[in-house]
């Protein structure tokens, strides 16, 4: 995956350069000193080919989606998440991974893990929350400048280059999912210099709002959102309603069956926000609630 014969020119890079006016896609094809060491590779048309190792070069990171593509979303997809409360024991691996990958400021979290207890005689449980990516998003309704928006694939994103920092969306969100960059975010140099994309939410910007973005940049790479892959207990299932499939990385299941068989529900259904995040009730638990207190 990480190696493509240089002489063939990386297709993505080539197309990228074609789009990038003023640069010649054939630039950078330089003479390479062969090492004599051969490696076997699978070509795009299905043949095993052998090439010299000297031609191997790492594929550069895909450039993040442009602001325009970020607004459109990924065609044909309807992203959805299922959170299985019977598996959560407040390990917070999801939170740590998310915070690290999105450079969330100290003291703030995009993924919060609530200790819930509805009433005196009901059982306590752990409830991780992400952005609900509502189909009727109250935050999007109130944004005065279209800085936060709903895409065709269901994801709600923020354009931090446009956000004016009025924080109306934070007041509007009943799930308290949004955080504000009160301070200038502390970033490693290479992240601070990377081109901003609403899909990566990176680099975060002072004076603007941030929140869980469902990691569409990972999805474009055919990978799972950071919280999903970080959870060792498989609490988070991520997938596509159109394919009726969700996966936590190790188990892949029919979304409709999962939600039907385990009585899935959504948070604050009465508000009419139509969240994209479904919860499976904390029954037949893998862990006791108290296990989560030890963390």
């Amino acid at each position: 995956m990480n190696a493509i014969p240089h002489a063939d020119i990386d297709r993505r890079k080539f197309l990228g350069k074609l789009l990038d006016k003023g640069s010649n896609p054939f630039d950078g094809v330089e003479e390479v000193q062969e090492t004599g060491e051969k490696v076997k590779l699978l070509s795009v048309d299905g043949f095993v080919v052998e090439i010299d190792k000297a031609y191997l070069k790492p594929v550069p990171e895909l450039p993040a989606a442009s602001p325009i593509d970020s607004r459109k979303g990924i065609e044909g997809k309807q992203f959805v998440m299922v959170i299985d409360l019977s598996r959560c024991k407040n390990l917070k691996k999801c939170q740590t991974a998310c915070n690290k990958m999105h450079f969330v400021s100290e003291g703030q979290n995009w993924v919060k893990i609530y200790s819930m207890k509805e009433s005196e005689h009901t059982a306590p449980y752990w409830q991780p929350t992400t952005c609900m990516h509502c189909d009727e998003p109250p935050c999007v309704k109130v944004c005065p400048v279209d800085a936060t928006f709903k895409r065709q694939d269901g994801v709600v994103l923020i354009d931090n280059d446009r956000c004016i920092g009025c924080r109306f969306c934070m007041a509007a969100c009943p799930y308290s999912t949004r955080v504000f960059n009160w301070d200038a975010p502390i970033l490693p140099k290479e992240s601070a210099q990377q081109a901003y994309s609403p899909e990566t939410s990176c680099p975060p910007k002072i004076g603007t709002v941030g929140k869980c973005d469902f990691c569409p940049d990972m999805v474009r790479k055919n990978e799972l959102p950071h919280c999903v892959s970080a959870c060792p207990n498989g609490v988070f299932f991520f997938g596509d309603i159109n394919e009726d499939t969700v996966t936590n990385g190790s188990e892949t299941v029919r979304f409709s069956e999962l939600v039907r068989d385990k009585s899935g529900y959504r948070l604050m259904e009465d508000l009419g926000t139509k969240p994209r995040v479904y919860y499976l009730p904390p029954v037949d638990r893998l862990f006791k609630y108290e296990d989560g207190l030890k963390q």
């Binding site: 309704k141 109130v142 004016i164 009025c166 504000f180 004076g207």
Partner: protein, 440 residues
Amino acid sequence: MKSSADLQAIPQHELDKLMPQPFGKRGMWWVIVLSAVCVVGIVAYVRQLMYGLSVTGLRDYASWGIYISNFVFFVAVSLVGSLITAILRISNVTWSAPLTRIAEIIAVSSIVFASVIIVVDMGRPERFMNLFIYGRLQSPILWDVIVITTYMALSVLLLYFPLLPDLAIVLKSGKLKRRLRKLYEFLGTFWIGTPEQHRIKEKAINLLSIIIIPVALAIHTVTSWLFATTYRPGWDSTNFGAYFVSGAFLVGAGAVVVAMYAIRRAYSLEFFITERHFDRMGKLLVMLSLLYLYFNINEYLVPVFKMKKSEAEHLSSLFTGEFSLIFWPVIFISMVLPVIVLLFPAGRRPLPMFVIGILVVVGAWFKRFLIVTPTLLHPFLPMTDVPESYKHYFPTWEEWAITMGSLAGALLIVTMFIRLFPILPIDDIIKGEGYEKESA
């Protein structure tokens, strides 16, 4: 309108007091103190521009604080322009005529600072123009932008048109220094006072008085919708528009009482601003206090009767919890006490009116704080995974400085206006409007 015999009843030395006058020693000190407060506010804002909103006590839960409550306060105060000028005018009430300009300049300066303070609250003030470049009409913020700019324009016109004959009167008196005369000439040389001009002016003012009433109701209703269009306990209320508008009339009337007392004292205008004016403003305040109290009862006691789970925590924090020490004093000093004191004729004399006016205004400011912040500190899901400091809200010195600076700035605009222009409508007074002898 009175006969010419009555007109001569105003002695010349009283009329002279209506001319703009240089500041005395007290006036100078007043301006210096206000300017100093403004400068401290500007210093604090420069710090906020440098370090971002992290210099405030605002955090993710209490994401709106005293900037926003101060904004609501300014919008509320500005409503008085339409009350005194427009509503009383089209109901053919003439006693309030000497107070119209005071009310109108308070309206203009408040609405200007409402706009200033809302920019101060923005995390990215340099992107202000995005509101016009990318503005989306379904956002209540856009509605607020539209109605506030409209109201500002109408208020400036309502200040300006009645000023035209007065500009001519002051110019003719020949007492103006050169620079001030230039300003007057720029603003009003075209006014020569023909009957046709008077007719057009009166027609324009009548028209503005009618147009400004729905716009005034709109500015405060829309401001209340910034809160009421969310789901949050304490804001999710169909009562909010009327509740805000009634509160706005109360605080605006209180502000006018304070201003008319101060102006009367400073310029010895007892001849024009009489005890009868205080008496009538006092009765108006009683009515407005009762009206606001009525909406408060609706706003709090109906939810308390049900004690829905999501509302209960918020309501008990106001009634018995951490905000109760602000909540009850505010209800008492700005709604109950005015009714009790002002029901008695002795309570409607200038000095007690002045004191009550101040209590109403101060109470109203804290009332706006109680509307904004406690709700944000009682979200649907419990406050989790945040540092302890996120669970409370204490404004920092920068926030106080900027807020005090904005209040001082609004007072400074009013003060400078009084320095430059006649604060009472001379033309109306000469014609006998609102100038009543005790026998009238």
